[in-house]
């Protein structure tokens, strides 16, 4: 177990490092310096600015400096918001984004696992067909459509829910959570159904039945542990997807989270901000994939030997 974690960490750190360096180089190669935007400054001033931001040093020193500071949580100053550091900006949005992601994933797990469970216990019946058809819709309707349509229906036509902000008005967390979580609820429902159907046909379930255990105990204690495995191993990629989805959802609902900052930074070509948020998102994605791999191999011993990669 520990060996597995160490093995994964061993690839994890170099990958992160390579990503940071490649991103840094890409941004460095971008046409146009950070200071030749709006106002025309004299060469001396640009020189001074470059000196102040260490841009006159060779590239490897810049990378080294950047990495060294980044490890300590300092992503440098924002180019577009003078006087504010990237770390400050990120920290002001991160709690919101994380809260949004947690609500959405809980919503998705709750709705998805329950409907997948119900469907798997009634294969071929109406309780299977209806939730599975709805989940198909959920997969095929992307957040860029679901979000605006929900706003149109609940915010504009019926005026029952607030349509912007996060935590400012009562109920304004509902629509963003649904928008971000629905697609994953649909996928979880299908994964749970598939996983449960496979497990319910296995010998150890028959043994449990033969022992005379109650059906509820069989399902909750014995079947669900194996049946939910596909969901667990998809959790990592799902959270990664949620983080990317936060770009859209935070933009639609005007939520000041990291996703919206990222999109705005991409618009403004705020290079240090893009760099910082990219690294943050990569870091979080890799971490969640790592965690979900470890949890999955913890639940399913057959995955342990292969290093959890197959």
């Amino acid at each position: 177990m520990i060996q597995l974690i160490l093995k994964r960490l061993f690839t994890y750190i170099p990958v992160l490092l390579v990503v940071v360096i490649v991103t840094f180089l890409m941004i460095h190669a971008a046409p146009g310096g950070p200071f030749d935007a709006e106002r025309v400054a004299s060469p001396e001033i640009i020189e001074k600015l470059n000196e102040a931001y260490n841009l006159d040093k060779p590239i490897y020193i810049q990378i080294y400096n950047y990495l060294f500071n980044a490890i300590q949580g300092d992503f440098g100053p924002s180019f577009k918001y003078p006087g504010r550091t990237v770390t400050e900006l990120i920290m002001s949005g991160l709690p919101t984004t994380i809260e949004l992601a947690i609500y959405s994933i809980l919503f998705a797990i709750f709705l998805g696992v329950i409907s997948g469970l119900v469907a798997s216990l009634n294969p071929g019946k109406i309780l299977d067909i209806v939730p599975m058809s709805i989940s198909l819709l959920g997969i095929c309707i992307p957040s860029i459509i679901l979000g605006p349509v929900l706003v149109l229906i609940f915010g504009i036509w019926y005026e029952v829910l607030p349509v912007y902000g996060w935590g400012d008005n009562p109920g304004d967390k509902i629509l963003p959570t649904i928008t971000l979580g629905t697609a994953y609820a649909a996928i979880f429902a299908r994964l749970t159904r598939g996983g449960m159907l496979e497990v319910l046909g296995q010998d150890y379930i028959r043994t449990a039945r033969a022992k005379g255990l109650s059906e509820i105990r069989i399902i909750i204690v014995h079947a669900l542990r194996g049946g939910i495995l596909p969901v667990i191993s998809f959790l990592g990629p799902a959270i990664a997807g949620l983080l990317a989805g936060s770009f859209v959802v935070e933009t639609i609902f005007q939520i000041n989270g990291v996703g919206r900052f990222y999109v705005q930074a991409a618009f403004n070509r705020d290079y240090t901000m893009i760099l910082g948020t990219s690294i943050l998102f990569t870091f979080m994605t890799l971490t969640f994939v790592l965690i979900s791999d470890i949890v999955a191999s913890f639940l399913n011993p057959t995955l342990r030997d292969s290093g959890g990669l197959e």
Binding site: M132, P142, P148, R193, I252, V263
Partner: protein, 281 residues
């Protein structure tokens, strides 16, 4: 193979409908300039946004442009990006997977290890990064989408090639002294092409969605070009007064994603009946 495939498709109604819809959409996109009732950028500022009427069947947008024509033209760019990105992904994935599967051993495990690692990275971030650095250009859009979307294709091709490389015709080619390059491109790749094309039908909706996602954020296709992502973005911005600007493009886009997903999954099920976990159960 193609005849059997067609027989199978005919038996599955949803699959057949999806196929017909997709073909219909492709035709429409091809002849969009002929059938669109108005010039796509023809503005009628005095008209402004008008609700659907006999003259403008899906209404007009704030600048008085006919929504129906814009959707027709938008389908061209959306489909173009979807298909070209798929083409890029196939080209990379096919070559990579074939090389990895054919040479096997250390090369194979190293190459597949790289695929595993890349799979864990947040691609949307890198695509946005590329678009920011090199400019929000439609060419960079589909190249960057394709450049990150080839991983699953490489895996599928590798598995196929692993099966093929021990077949007699490959071995006899090796005995006759053909070099690896020739064997790969002359003998192996043509044999996996059918599978590749069928699997790539699943990539098209994925990439179209990605394009719409980026265009929605304003980072993909740029106005005055219209794509479905752009139309949904504009619709979402003005939906308070003009609901039709959101509803029609959104409905069409969902329908198309639906059809393409069904088509891809259905074709895959026919080809590989073991793996029927995804959509059509």
């Amino acid at each position: 193979m193609w005849l059997e495939l067609f027989q199978e498709i005919k038996q599955r109604k949803i699959l057949l409908i999806s196929l017909l819809y997709t073909l219909f959409l492709l035709c429409i996109a091809l002849i969009a300039p002929i059938i669109s009732p108005y010039e796509v950028s023809e503005q009628n500022l005095s008209l402004g946004a008008s609700a659907p009427s006999l003259q403008y069947i899906l209404g007009t947008d704030v600048l008085g442009r006919d929504l129906f024509s814009r959707i027709l033209y938008g389908s061209r760019i959306s489909l173009l990006v979807g298909f070209l990105a798929t083409f890029v992904a196939i080209t990379i994935g096919l070559t990579y997977g074939a090389v990895s599967g054919y040479f096997g051993g250390k090369i194979d495990s190293l190459m597949m290890r790289l695929v595993d690692i890349l799979d864990g990275l947040p691609f949307v971030i890198f695509i946005i990064l590329i678009l920011v650095i090199f400019g929000r250009d439609i060419y960079f859009l589909f190249i960057s989408i394709g450049a990150f979307g080839w991983l699953s294709m490489a895996r599928i091709v590798r598995l196929q090639v692993l099966g093929l490389r021990k077949k007699e015709f490959v071995i006899s080619a090796q005995i006759m002294g053909a070099n690896s390059f020739r064997i790969l491109f002359k003998h192996i790749i043509p044999n996996v092409l059918g599978t590749v094309i069928i699997y790539s039908t699943l990539l098209v909706p994925q990439f179209m969605l990605l394009e719409a996602f980026l265009s929605f954020l304003g980072l993909g296709v740029q106005p005055p070009d219209s794509s479905w992502g752009i139309l949904i973005r504009e619709g979402a911005n003005t939906m308070e007064e003009y609901w039709w600007l959101l509803i029609f493009p959104a409905f069409l886009f969902s329908l198309t994603l639906f059809a393409l997903n069904f088509l891809g999954d259905g074709l895959r099920d026919i080809l590989d009946p073991r793996d029927t976990q995804k959509l059509e159960n």
